[in-house]
Amino acid sequence: MSPLTELTEYILREIAVEHGKESLESDENLLSQGLIDSMGILKLVSFIESNFGIKVDNEDIVPENFETLNDMSRFVEKKKNK
């Protein structure tokens, strides 16, 4: 499975469900909708770290890396290739 698919499935299952969302577009802004909040990001970061075997530094937690599923997927690929 690609990081994009895995991230989409995880966010739908663990985070978006509380907001009544059943599907997510890869370029949908998750921050402006409040889908990912300050607690949700902690869960998401620990999922990314354990699932993709990468370390997410505190400085990485910025909108460029987490605004959309595409951003997250790009961020994971970049970290994996480091």
Binding site: N29, L31, M39, K43, N58, V62
Partner: protein, 381 residues
């Protein structure tokens, strides 16, 4: 598993007890009544090394590990009766110095961390606003980029140390549409144009720890004073508050131990119905409960310290520590007053001050309700 501290660690703790008993208590009843902050005592704590404990030697720190740091803070709380002073110190240590230490550029650490470690400067953390408290990231203070500056506008309230601070760690949003990821952190000096410290807020306790509102009116902050990247403010705040929740109440474990000893002493000498009151089970059980609370609080404190030292992140355990230690502290103060009877209610016996000082512990750094929400969230609820 080993629950022992080394002889060196215990000596450091004992030296903090001796320092506090000798230097920090003086005229505490009068200072509490007048609500006077003492810069002299602040400096004495800095000279003793309290403000520099866990930070790197390169920036004036002492490179002390976090478990030993908390043991020293526990000793300080045991010896020092000025909980307001310790509250101000803790606020600066965990929510101003620690974020600069972890997120600051070398220049920011050299400029600011060193001055905070030496006691030359005092720092304040500015998050809470009139309409955003528990929901802290719903803040309204804005930061707009303007050439080589940011312009800050908005107001902060309930800010510990604001009336005496030289440096303010301020959280503002650069883009509300990005939610909590619009929040960005800034290091604002008190001399920057547009920062206004309004009149002091009177409080129930912690009276020697000054507090006020801080207003930003087109406040100009150089780009070099942004802490961390744009949009990283929530992470910086969460990291600082996790340190605060984990460590801030270490000194109150010392307070609980002092209270327990005072209660045992009083229960042995105060006689009613021709017996020391400690012989009444109603009193001795209260004291037994105080001891159980003290021991469990201490275990939780050092467990979280160990987690922070070995693993870095400890979000749920920090919330557990904050919740349990603060609730235990308040109960311990209530018990101490009850055991002292009517005298416990008088200023002279000093336990009423402890109670007034303790009440806010279930409010600041996230209320008890918020700690429970965090714990529940970690449990998948």
């Amino acid at each position: 598993m080993n629950f022992e501290f080394t002889a060196d660690q215990l000596e450091l703790k004992n030296s903090a007890v001796r320092f506090a008993q000798k230097k920090l208590n003086g005229d505490i009843i009068a200072r509490d009544k007048a609500g006077t902050f003492s810069k002299e005592l602040w400096k004495a704590c800095a000279e003793f090394g309290i403000l520099s404990l866990p930070f790197s030697k390169s920036y004036g720190g002492s490179d002390c590990d976090i478990i030993t740091t908390l043991l020293i803070m526990e000793g300080l709380g045991y010896g020092c009766k000025d909980s307001g002073l310790l509250f101000s110190i803790n606020g600066q240590l965990w929510t101003v110095q620690m974020p600069i230490f972890h997120f600051g550029t070398p220049a920011q650490k050299t400029n600011y961390l060193s001055k905070l470690c030496s006691g030359e400067w005092i720092g304040a953390n500015c998050m809470t606003e009139p309409s955003s408290g528990s929901d802290s990231f719903a803040l309204s203070t804005t930061a707009k980029r303007d050439g080589d500056h940011y312009i800050l506008n908005g107001s902060k309230t309930l800010i510990t140390n604001a009336p005496i601070a030289d440096l303010f760690l301020v959280f503002a949003t650069i883009d509300k549409s990005k939610g909590f990821m619009g929040v960005t952190a800034f290091l604002v000096e008190k001399t920057f144009p547009g920062i206004i410290i309004s009149k002091e807020i009177e409080k129930m306790g912690l009276k020697t720890s000054p507090m006020s509102e801080v207003i930003f009116e087109d406040c100009q902050v150089p780009l070099a004073n942004r802490l961390g990247p744009e949009g990283n403010g929530a992470t910086i705040f969460n990291e600082g508050i996790e340190w605060e929740r984990s460590c801030m109440l270490a000194s109150d474990v010392g307070v609980m131990e002092r209270q327990l000893e005072e209660c045992i002493k009083y229960a042995k000498i105060r006689e009613q119905f021709k017996k020391p009151i400690g012989k009444f089970q109603a009193i001795s059980h209260k004291i037994a409960d105080m001891k159980v609370r003290l021991e469990t609080a201490r275990l939780i404190l050092y467990k979280v310290a160990w987690l922070k030292q070995t693993q870095g992140r400890a979000g749920m355990e920090a919330a557990i520590a904050k919740l349990y230690l603060s609730e235990s502290l308040i109960q311990s103060c209530l018990d101490a007053i009850q055991i002292h009877g009517g005298y416990g209610y008088t200023a002279e016996y000093e336990v009423e001050r402890d109670l007034r000082d303790s009440i806010s512990s279930t409010l600041y750094s996230g209320t008890s309700e918020i700690q429970k929400n965090i714990i529940a969230k970690y449990l998948g609820l």
